[in-house]
Every structure is written in structure tokens, then in C-alpha cells.
Amino acid sequence: MALRTNLSRRRFLASGLGAVAAPVLLGKSDLLAPSDPHWQGVVNPLHHPPRVKRVIHLYMAGGPSHLETFDYKPKLADLHGQPMPASFTDGQPIAQLQGQQLTCLAPQFPFARFGQSGQEICTRFPHLGSIADDICIIRSMKTDQINHDPAHTLFNTGSTIPGRPAMGSWINYGLGSECSDLPGFIVLASVGKGGQAQPIAARQWSSGFLPSRFQGVEFRSKGSPVLFVGNPDGITRQQQRQAVDTIAQLNQLHDNVVHDPEIATRIAQFEMAFRMQASVPELADISSEPRSVLDLYGVEQQDGSFASNCLLARRLAERGVRFIQVYHRAWDHHGAVKRSIDITANEVDRASAALITDLKRRGMLDDTLVLWGGEFGRTPMAQGSGRDHHIRGFSYFLAGGGIRGGMTHGATDELGYHAVQDVVHVRDLHATILHLLGIDHQRLSQRFQGLDIRLTGVERAAPIRAILS
């Protein structure tokens, strides 16, 4: 009987694959040939009606402390300075506190209840408190990786083996793009002042074994917003237009001889590049926003801050960009967690809330999914005055289409160590994101080096039904 179960499962996998990605058995270079510039996605039609069209991930890189944001643990205050009970920590992976005396560190800020829903949020984040009824807090997140680089890689690609596509790449591969003059996956990053800025690898937005057209494109705050988007000095927009036209004419003449569908694509991509040359600087210029909006986010100009990136994220979302990731890189609070949270909250709180408020005012929150959180959380144990990396329980919040606002899902134990109730693994979050976009996470896969790779991997993963509206 066991054998039969196994075979039927395999058959299911194989057929699922065939339906999703027809070219799966071919070499990689054929994967998307001819490469249609108006990629409609492999999940076409969608597996089920979608709730959202796009995703904005406010990515708190470095690992925010759940104990100073969304997960209040008064018991930890009682045990402040005392040894962490070994029953919590025995046999658990530990990062920098390895081999050291483990003592409890009390929550560094009071919490309060916000909104009609009365969600419990750290008082250091009053703006997030003001949108408490719009957000769903998950307090039972779990990951497998305890160091930044591998944990980011797992969070973004579902695996720690390099070379896997990032979720933004998967989503664009699955759904295609909604705009013709911008890439479908855009990354923005800012450095804060409250913690050491851990490095971020471009691997985190790589398309891995998927073609590079699905790669995340970084929008930079200094220099050209997109690499090589500016004309060389001495070439006007009109001259660039003429160059692109001339190239197109010559390519067309060549196509008459060689009949190659790639040439039509080449012509279309030059055209899109030319449009990007105008649309990107226009988009990056937030000075055209009304004063009321600038005030809402608390920004004056595009200065590379998290706040200006949040505003930019909204502008990108408006233009149909499918997946937008906004990194804030200063959440690695090994020391002085109180002071660091204080600084970081100033940089993040208002703008994060502003983005959700702004989307809501424009009616866009209904078809946008906003995620807020990092690659892991931080220990209930002290590392001096700070906290070490922690993977067994941490918090996230979600807002937007299909998400029940004003609710808290899951819980950690009384010291905030282990997620114990309604545990949500990173891959469950992945499954949820795909689900909201109309994709069954088990049916979006691609064969690579002998494996049918999925964002959610092969371990059990499921959308978090309880938080869906």
C-alpha cells in the first residue's frame, strides 16, 4: 500500500508540473524561448480567484525583536536578570550566545492596546498602533536559519542552497507583469542608524535558475535609480529615440532574412528600455507628491531613507509593479536593544503606517498585500543590553486584500522563546502569499538539477487559513 501511495504522489507531482511549466523537460536555454516581452505568466489561468495583485514586503533586515514590537511578555520582566530556564533552551541552536550564561532580559518598552480590536503593540510604535485594526499580527513565526545570510536566503527563496529564485522572481514567473515600462520585481534598501548594517546579498533578489528577466531590479537612491538608465552625456532623449528606432529598423531588416522570433523580442525590449529611461526618473522623483502625502510619510525628498522608499513603493505599486521589497537594514540589535529600537522605530514606525494608510485612501489596500517583518526575531535572553538572533518564535504583520485586519494569530510561550500555538513556518507564509495571488504553491514549480523546485520546498506548507478574510 505504501508503494502505491508513493507512486500516486509522484504521478501527481509530474502532472502538476506538466500543466504548470510545459518546457520543464527541456534545457534551460529553451525555458522561455521565444522570450515574449509581454510575459503572461505560467500560472495562466490562475489556480483560483486572487485576492491581491501585488505584494509589498517591508523587510526589517537584521531581525527585529518581537519582544519590543508585537509580542509582550510580562513574565520575562519578572525573570529579568535571572537565568533563562534550561527547559527552554536545551538542545536549541544558539548563535553568538553559544556557551554563555543565559539570562532573561525584560521587555524594554511598555505595550498598550490599540484600535477597536485592542491589538497589543509596543508603545514605541504608536503609528503602527493607529492602524491596528488594519493589520493581522502573527506571533508564531518560525524559521530554520540562525545567521543573517542563510536566514535571508531561506526567507527569500525557501532554501539555503544558493541559486534558487527569490519569491519576487517566482511570482513574476508565475503571473507576469502588469506594467510595460518597469520591471515586475523591484528592491529598495535603506540603512538606518540603530544597529549595525548587516550586508545584503543580491542573491536575495536573484532569479536563480529562472531567466534573469525575473530578477529583482534594485532602485538606488544615489546615482541612476536603475543602473544604466541614464543616457550617456552628450546624447539627448531625442537622439536616444532615434538610436532605438534605427536599431529597430536594422533588426527588422535582418529579421526579413533570418526569420528569428527573438528579434521581435529584442526590438520590444529596446522599446521598454527606452520607456524605462523616462518612467524611472519620473517615478523616483517624489517631489511631485502633494505636501499632505509627504507629511504623512514624514519625508521631504527622495533621500534614500526608509520613509522615502515607502512612498516610492506606493508609486511603484500604482504603476503595476508586482513585487516590491523595501529593506531597512538596521535591525541587528545585539547590544543596547532599547536605544536601538528607539532609533529604529523613529525611522520605520510612521512610514510603515503611512504606506498602509495611503494605500487604503487610494483604494489600493484591497488588492495589495503588505508584509512587515525580518528574517528572524531576537532572544528573550540578554546579550549584554541587547538580544541575539532567534528563530524559534518571532512576529510578522500582514495587511491588505484577503487579510483579516485587527487580529492576532498564534502565540509564543510565556517567555517568547518557542512559537507554541498556530505555528507559522516561513514556508507557510510563502504559501499564503502565493495563495492570495491566486497560486497554489504546490503547482508552481520548475525542474532544476533533478529536482522539481518550489518556493515552498517539499516539506509541508499551507496557507494560513485563519487569517484570511
Binding site: 548587516q198 550586508p199 537622439q239 525590449q269
Partner: protein, 892 residues
């Protein structure tokens, strides 16, 4: 660690699968040795002329015959030359090469062309480009801080191995186990750096045990993908679902690499970024020349010190007499005084600039009412004294009162650089960055009766700042004193020489020569230290290797395993002791290995035909795609082994076939009936690899610097591209001069932030084995082609060629550009389009010559030209178009 199937699959299922696996193993095509098939007779008599040329064609024709199809016609001579040139060199042909072959497209001329291309080092560079993708060669560690490491000598070894046509079996053996070969040569040990190409971490808080497990898994994945096209990586956490590879097999393969000296988490701290050892020194020709030069100069200066002159002889006699006089009276040192801090521009500037005391010290002098000099009665000799300040200098001063003439040794230490004056004469000048330590510098001084003035200047670059001093009076070593006590006439030759040698080491008369010698010796040390090193594979006591249950590194309950082959592939011959990497390598290239030859010839085939005979280049297992021409694949593999694993011979065989020499154009019917060209009844057309896109532009513009090998280079790159790197923060140090125009294979390969133009054209990060790059077609590629400074610069250089070589008419220049870039003349229509574009540009730039000048100013390459700026800028506009054409990016 990923843990596939933890909840879904149960152990019971795997047990149940075992019989299926056995079945798959027995019948799967790739697991039995290649059969020496006989090339089939090809029945049909009306094949096009020139078919079949060799056995490849017989196999291919036979399949076409069965399918009722015909091969494609031969392409034009120009296409043939371009194809060969791009396939073998990754570079375009010259106009002369195209013309020569067009004039004589005979069989002999074709073969001569192939042989000439094969004999060039550019062929080796082209092959290495692909091999480096496979073995994931890069210039950085790949994880977290992504620090640079020293490994490029391995890349150069790969190039030379292909150039010298090293047999593939030796090529394999040396990479996996060059260090274990008997009497391993330096080159063989460099080859073994293959084993150090895995990603490594320095991230704080990482667990060594976890990362050691990762390094092992990384190596197993690589060796099994590169040589076996086996998806052994699947078995890290569970037995392979489809292929006969168990988890135990995975760890047994891993155990072969357990002897490599390494650590799990590399630490910061050691000097000069060289903390990823062990290292192997790799002397370069240039470095050895430099060292030899220094040695000659050192010998010359030593000769000067040793040469006797009347003056020295006389001085020595006087000195000898002095030594026999009454015992020396100790000199009296005055209190130390300091003046400072003095600030200026750069470190070097502060070090060099005279702030005043050099020309005389007045301890009572005041500046703005404040005394310039502070007394330091608390400073004791032979201790380091702390100074305070950033990029600043301090002067330190004291007097020395001498009652009767004496010689003395003065010892100094400083953080950072130091200069010393005695009685206004500078005796020491050492610009250096270092921490303060005792006795870093030594001066021997002869002091006459009277007061002497000692002035020291210490300059700090940043960080610590300090100073150290002590004096040694009785400098006459005991043995010299003893020798001097013997009356001069009674001394033997050895004593005379010893005394003289000693005198020469202290006499002020030779101070200059001694300083020069010290400086030369220091230079020698620096030169020696800057000779390249390569991360070395050093065998040590093997770590224990356990099966990690579900890949979990924290679980120690798995069985300990010894190195061994996956059971389904047989076993190594019985031998004494533990199996080694060399045993693994020998098994891979043993004639009965079913996979290695097939895998490699299939990948060569892909390079020259655009796709493999087995399409899944990375998977020869049961889930891969079976070969379209199994007999051909076997025949090639068998032939490859029989030839002694001769790579160039195999390439030559493929390239001299008629199958290779087909047109890549396809009519609609053929494209529909055989969309993936399973019959190889036409050639392939595909976009150039990233490196070739750039190298092509460098060649046609005349910018390419054809230097082979050497440290990786840093061409133009957008500012701020590395700003998300940290520990340390990174600023891209762009190269100057010829390194801006080297072939792209030499571009610094930063795994986490690969050069954006290479990445835009699908060059992989090389964090893992890439068997097959994607060939995408994106707007970012268009942006690179239109706006990347290297392409803009190439367009200018090409425009300059259009004027200097093309002729004085627009039409001639356009024709020159087409021949140079596309190896053909433009059609009338194409010429019209170009002329129109030129006319517009010329009008625009004549209106705005300043814009023309700005455009022409892009790039570092020499810009002098007699052509008027608007004219040249208009030609540059044409050149830009040429470099962006689909045809320029495509191999036909």
C-alpha cells in the same frame, strides 16, 4: 539545512522504493559503459555534397533518413568563419580572416582555420569561461561579507590546461587530488585549489559544525554535477527518489573531502585579507624578475660596504685606537620634549611637510602665547609612550651631552611613520603604517665630545599613535672587544676581518650605504609578500563523517561512514587504508566509468551545437532527458576515452563534421516539425554569453588588451554598486590602464554583486555549479548596450577606426563598420537607414558641438583624433547602433 519530505515521506516508503531503484539501475542508459558503436551505413545516395564527412555525420544522417529529412545547406563562408571564431575564441574574426577564407573555402583551408584557432590561448580562455561556471570559480567567499580571496592562479591553471590540451583524465585528477599525486608539482597543487572553491562564511554567530556540513555538501553537489551529471545533491536529506543514490552514498562521497584542511567559520584578524588559508605561494615571472633585480642591487650595495678604501682604512685605525682608550663616560640625556599635534592633508603629506622644528629647536619658543614644547620628565626610555591625535604629527626632542667621543646604538619604535634628525641631519625617514613596538628601527651614531640634538618626528595615519626610544651605549660586542685586546700585529686574518666587518656596520662613513641596504631589503620583503598566493588544498587528518539524518547537522546519531562510491556505481578496488580524493578521481576517469566521458562530450556538443545530445546537461539520471542519438553519444564518449581523453581532438572532430557546418537558418516547416532540433538537421543560433558580448565590442573597436592570465581586473562599474556589502564596507577600486580593456573572463567575480553588465546577460554568480546559462532577452540588456560606459567607449573607438581605416566618405565608413562588426557589407536598405541616422546626428552635433565633445570624452582610452567633434560623434552614434544590433549579439 533543507529537509525534504520530512513530513510527507516516511522511512517505510523508501524501503518500499528500493526494488524500483534496483530496476532503474539495471536498465538506465547512462549507468552502463558506453558501447563502441559502429557508425551506421547511410543508405541514401543523394545527400548534399560534403555529406557525410565523418562518423558524427553518419549517425546524424541515419536519424534524418529515418525521419525523412535533409540536412540544412552550408552557410556562407563569412558565417562559417564567424561561427568558428565565436565558438572557439569567444571573439569575432578580423576582416582579413573572413576575406582569406571566402577566397579559399576549401576543406584544407577549413581545417587549417580550425587548427589555427585551436592553437591560440584564446581557445583556452573560451573553454575556461565554461569550466569556471561548472566549478563555481569566483574571487570572493560568497557568504555574508563576501570577502575577496586569493584563488586566481587556479583560473590561470585552467586556461593553461586547456591551452596545452591536457588530457581530461589528468585535468580531472589534478583538480580533485593534485596535492596527493606523487611528487606533486606546483601546477598540480594549484589545480587542487578546485577543492577550495566552495562558499565559506565568516559571519559571527555561525556554528562551525553546521558550516563544515555545508562545505561538504557543497563539494558533493559540485563533483557529482560536474563529472557525473548526477543529482546526488538530492540525497543530502533523504535517499534519492528516482536514482540509485542513498543518503549514505551522499555522505560517503562527502567523506572523500574530509581530509581537506579548513575551518567551519573563518575569522577576521590576520593581515592583508589573507585569512582563508592554508595558502600556496605562486611565484610569478614578473615577481621573480623584480626579486632578482633587487638581489642584484643588494649585492652591489653590499659590495660597496665591503670594499676597502683608504678613507675607511684610516677611519678604522682611528676607531681602533679610540676603543683602546679609557672606558667611555656615559652620555647625559636631556628631558624629552614634545611639540604638536601638527595637522595637514593626507598621511603622506603630514609625514613629508616640514612644520618648523626641522630647521632648529627653541624650547622656549611660544606660539600665540602658548609654549610650543612640552617637557616630559615622566617619559622613561625603553617604554612606549602614547600620543594623541588623528592624522597628525608630533616632534620629540632631547639633547645628548657627551664627555668623550663615543658610538651608540639608538633604537626607535613608532605608530605610524618616523623621521630622525641628529644635529640637524636627517638619518632616518620611514613612511609606514604600523603599531608601535620596541626596536622597530636602529641607528648607530658616532658622537663627538659636546652637546648633540636628537629630533624625532612621528606621524600618525589613524588609530593608535605612539613612540618608543632607548639607547645602547656599550655597543662593542664582547667578542670584538676581546679581538681588539690582541695587539694589531698579532691578529690573525679572521680576527682582522671580523673587526673590520664590525667597524663597517657602525661607521658613519657607510651610513648611507647601510640605509640603502636596509631599504632594499625591506623592498625585497614587500615584493616577496606581494607575490601571489593561492588557497591551497592540504590533506590533514580526516574529520569524522556521519550520515546526517535529514541533513540535520545537530544530529549526531547517524552512522559514521568512510569514503566510498555510491553503491550502484560499484566500488573502489581494495586497497590499504582509507580511500582518498585521488582514488575518487581515478575512478571518475577509469575507462569503465559510465558517465564522465558521456557527460563531458555532451557538454562540448552543447557549446558547438547549442544544445546537448542529452538536453538535461545536469541530469543523466532517470529523470533527465534521454539522448536523442544514444549511439552517437556512446561513440563520441568511447572515442574520447580511446584518444587518451584528448579534448582538442574531440572539439576538432565535432567542428570538422558536416553536421557542424550547416546553416542555422530554419524554414517554417522544419521549425514546426522539429522545434528543438532533435535531429540536428540545422545549426543553432543563440545569443552570445555575457563575456562575449563585451569582448566582441572590445575587439571590433580595437580596445581589447589580449593579455592572458593574472590577477582579476576591475573595469568600469557604476559607483555605489557594492554599498550593501559590509564587514568591511566596500569601495570599488577601478583599475587604471590596460586592465580596463581585458577580456571579461578576468573581471573580478564578486559572487554577491557580480558586475551588473555581466549579470544582465545571464552570467551566473557562481555560488554553485552552473551547467547551462539562461539566454534571456531583457530591457536591462538594452540599457547596458546603449548606456554602459564601456560600450559607449567602444563605440567611440570604433568610430575612430571608421575614420582612420574606413575612408573619407560616409558610405565607406559605414561599410567598414559593417565588415568589422558583422563580417559583411550592408544591403542598400541598411545603408540607407545608416545614412539617415548619420545625417540627423551630424546636423544635431554641428548645432551643439559641445554635446559632441562631452560624448567623445567618455572613457579613459586615448581620445586624440583629427576628426572634428561633430563628425566623430555622428560616427560614434552609428557605432553605438552597430554594437546594439541583434546580429552583433548572436552566434549564427
Amino acid at each position: 539545512m533543507h529537509r525534504y519530505f520530512r513530513d510527507v515521506m516516511t522511512v517505510g516508503l523508501f524501503v518500499a522504493m528500493a526494488p524500483m531503484v534496483a530496476l532503474a539501475q539495471a536498465s538506465h542508459w547512462a549507468y552502463s559503459a558506453p558501447k563502441p558503436a559502429t557508425p551506421p551505413d547511410v543508405q541514401q545516395s543523394d545527400w548534399p555534397p560534403g555529406w557525410p564527412r565523418n562518423a558524427i555525420d553518419q549517425f546524424v544522417l541515419e536519424a534524418m533518413e529515418r525521419a525523412g529529412r535533409q540536412p540544412a545547406p552550408q552557410p556562407s563562408a563569412a558565417t562559417v568563419v564567424r561561427r568558428l571564431s565565436f565558438d572557439l575564441h569567444g571573439l569575432p574574426p578580423t576582416v582579413a580572416e573572413v576575406e582569406a577564407f571566402s577566397a579559399d573555402p576549401s576543406e584544407q583551408a577549413y581545417e587549417r582555420l580550425v587548427d589555427r584557432l585551436l592553437s591560440s590561448e584564446h581557445f583556452a580562455e573560451r573553454m575556461a569561461m565554461y569550466w569556471l561556471d561548472l566549478v563555481r570559480y569566483a574571487d570572493t567567499t560568497g557568504v555574508h561579507a563576501d570577502n575577496p580571496w586569493d584563488i586566481y592562479p587556479y583560473r590561470d591553471w585552467v586556461i593553461q590546461a586547456f591551452h596545452q590540451n591536457q588530457p581530461f583524465d589528468a585535468f580531472t585528477r589534478e583538480q580533485l587530488a593534485g596535492d596527493q599525486l606523487p611528487n606533486a608539482t606546483l601546477q598540480q597543487r594549484i589545480a587542487a585549489a578546485y577543492n577550495r572553491l566552495n562558499l565559506i562564511t565568516r559571519e559571527g554567530g555561525s556554528q562551525p559544525k553546521e558550516f563544515l556540513a555545508r562545505y561538504m555538501a557543497d563539494r558533493v553537489r559540485n563533483v557529482s554535477t560536474v563529472w557525473l551529471a548526477a543529482t546526488v545533491g538530492c540525497a543530502e536529506c533523504h535517499d534519492h527518489k528516482f536514482d540509485p543514490v542513498s543518503t549514505r552514498d551522499f555522505y560517503r562521497l562527502g567523506a572523500f573531502f574530509a581530509d581537506i584542511q579548513q575551518v567551519g567559520v573563518y575569522s577576521q584578524g590576520a593581515k592583508k585579507n589573507r585569512y582563508f588559508g592554508p595558502y600556496l605561494r605562486v611565484p610569478t615571472e614578473a615577481g621573480q624578475t623584480l626579486l632578482a633585480g633587487l638581489d642584484t642591487r643588494i649585492a652591489a650595495v653590499k659590495g660597496m660596504v665591503d670594499t676597502q678604501t683608504d678613507e675607511l682604512a684610516q677611519a678604522e685605525q682611528i676607531w681602533q685606537r679610540e676603543q683602546q682608550g679609557p672606558p667611555v663616560v656615559e652620555p647625559v640625556f636631556g628631558t624629552w620634549h614634545s611639540a604638536g599635534p601638527f595637522t595637514g592633508g593626507s598621511f603622506g603629506d603630514v609625514h613629508k611637510r616640514a612644520f618648523g622644528p626641522e630647521s632648529g629647536v627653541d624650547l622656549a619658543a611660544r606660539n600665540d602665547g602658548q609654549p610650543i614644547w612640552q617637557a616630559h620628565p615622566e617619559w622613561r626610555d625603553a617604554k612606549a609612550h602614547k600620543l594623541v591625535g588623528g592624522r597628525t604629527a608630533y616632534y620629540l626632542y632631547r639633547t645628548i651631552d657627551v664627555e668623550s667621543a663615543l658610538a651608540m646604538t639608538l633604537w626607535f619604535g613608532s605608530d605610524d611613520s618616523i623621521q630622525v634628525w641628529l644635529d640637524g641631519k636627517r638619518l632616518l625617514n620611514h613612511e609606514i603604517s604600523r603599531g608601535v613596538a620596541p626596536d622597530q628601527e636602529r641607528l648607530v651614531v658616532a658622537l663627538d665630545q659636546g652637546q648633540h640634538q636628537l629630533l624625532v618626528k612621528v606621524t600618525n595615519g589613524s588609530g593608535g599613535f605612539g613612540f618608543y626610544f632607548r639607547a645602547e651605549l656599550d655597543l662593542l660586542p664582547a667578542e670584538i672587544r676581546t679581538l681588539l685586546q690582541v695587539p694589531a700585529k698579532e691578529r690573525d686574518l679572521a680576527s682582522v676581518q671580523s673587526i673590520s666587518r664590525y667597524f663597517r656596520s657602525i661607521t658613519p662613513l657607510l651610513q648611507q650605504q647601510r640605509d640603502a641596504l636596509a631599504q632594499l631589503q625591506q623592498q625585497r620583503e614587500i615584493s616577496l609578500a606581494s607575490e601571489p598566493v593561492v588557497m591551497a588544498t592540504v590533506a590533514t587528518k580526516p574529520m569524522t563523517t556521519r550520515v546526517l539524518l535529514r541533513g540535520n547537522w545537530m544530529d549526531d546519531s547517524g552512522k559514521i561512514v568512510e569514503p566510498g562510491l555510491p553503491a550502484a556505481f560499484g566500488s573502489l578496488a581494495k586497497r590499504q587504508g582509507r580511500a582518498t580524493r585521488l582514488d575518487l578521481a581515478n575512478w571518475l576517469v577509469s575507462p569503465d566509468n559510465p558517465l564522465v566521458a558521456r557527460v563531458f562530450v555532451n557538454r562540448l556538443w552543447r557549446l558547438f551545437f547549442g544544445r546537448g545530445i542529452v538536453r538535461s546537461l545536469d541530469d543523466f539520471g532517470s529523470q533527465g532527458v534521454p539522448p536523442t542519438h544514444p549511439e552517437l553519444l556512446d561513440w563520441l564518449a568511447h572515442r574520447f576515452v580511446q584518444s587518451g581523453w584528448d579534448v582538442k581532438a574531440m572539439v576538432r572532430l565535432m567542428l570538422t563534421s558536416s553536421t557542424y557546418r550547416q546553416s542555422s537558418l530554419s524554414d517554417e516547416a522544419t521549425a514546426r516539425q522539429d522545434p528543438y532540433n532533435d535531429l540536428f538537421s540545422r545549426q543553432a543560433r543563440f545569443r552570445h554569453d555575457a563575456e562575449i558580448v563585451r569582448d566582441n565590442a572590445l575587439v571590433v573597436s580595437g580596445l581589447l588588451v589580449r593579455k592572458v592570465g593574472g590577477r582579476s581586473v576591475r573595469p568600469y562599474q557604476p559607483a555605489g554598486f557594492y554599498r550593501h556589502l559590509n564587514f568591511p564596507k566596500r569601495k570599488y577600486q577601478q583599475d587604471m590602464g590596460e586592465n580596463l580593456w581585458r577580456r571579461s573572463i578576468y573581471t573580478h567575480w564578486q559572487r554577491q554583486y557580480l558586475h551588473p553588465s555581466l549579470a544582465a546577460f545571464d552570467a551566473p554568480s557562481r555560488e554553485q555549479c552552473t551547467v547551462e546559462r539562461a539566454r534571456s532577452n531583457t530591457p536591462l540588456q538594452a540599457l547596458v548596450l546603449l548606456n554602459d560606459p564601456i560600450l559607449v567607449e567602444a563605440a567611440r573607438a570604433l568610430a575612430m577606426r571608421m575614420h582612420s581605416e574606413g575612408g573619407d566618405e560616409v558610405q565607406k565608413r559605414i561599410t567598414f563598420a559593417w565588415q568589422t562588426v558583422l563580417s559583411r557589407v550592408p544591403s542598400a536598405q541598411e545603408l540607407d537607414v545608416m545614412r539617415n541616422h548619420h545625417q540627423r546626428l551630424l546636423a544635431q552635433y554641428s548645432e551643439d558641438p559641445d554635446a559632441a565633445k562631452r560624448l567623445l570624452a567618455i572613457g579613459k582610452h586615448a581620445q586624440a583624433s583629427d576628426v572634428a567633434a561633430p563628425e566623430l560623434a555622428a560616427s560614434m552614434g552609428l557605432a553605438r547602433v552597430m554594437l546594439s544590433l541583434h546580429e552583433s549579439l548572436t552566434r549564427y
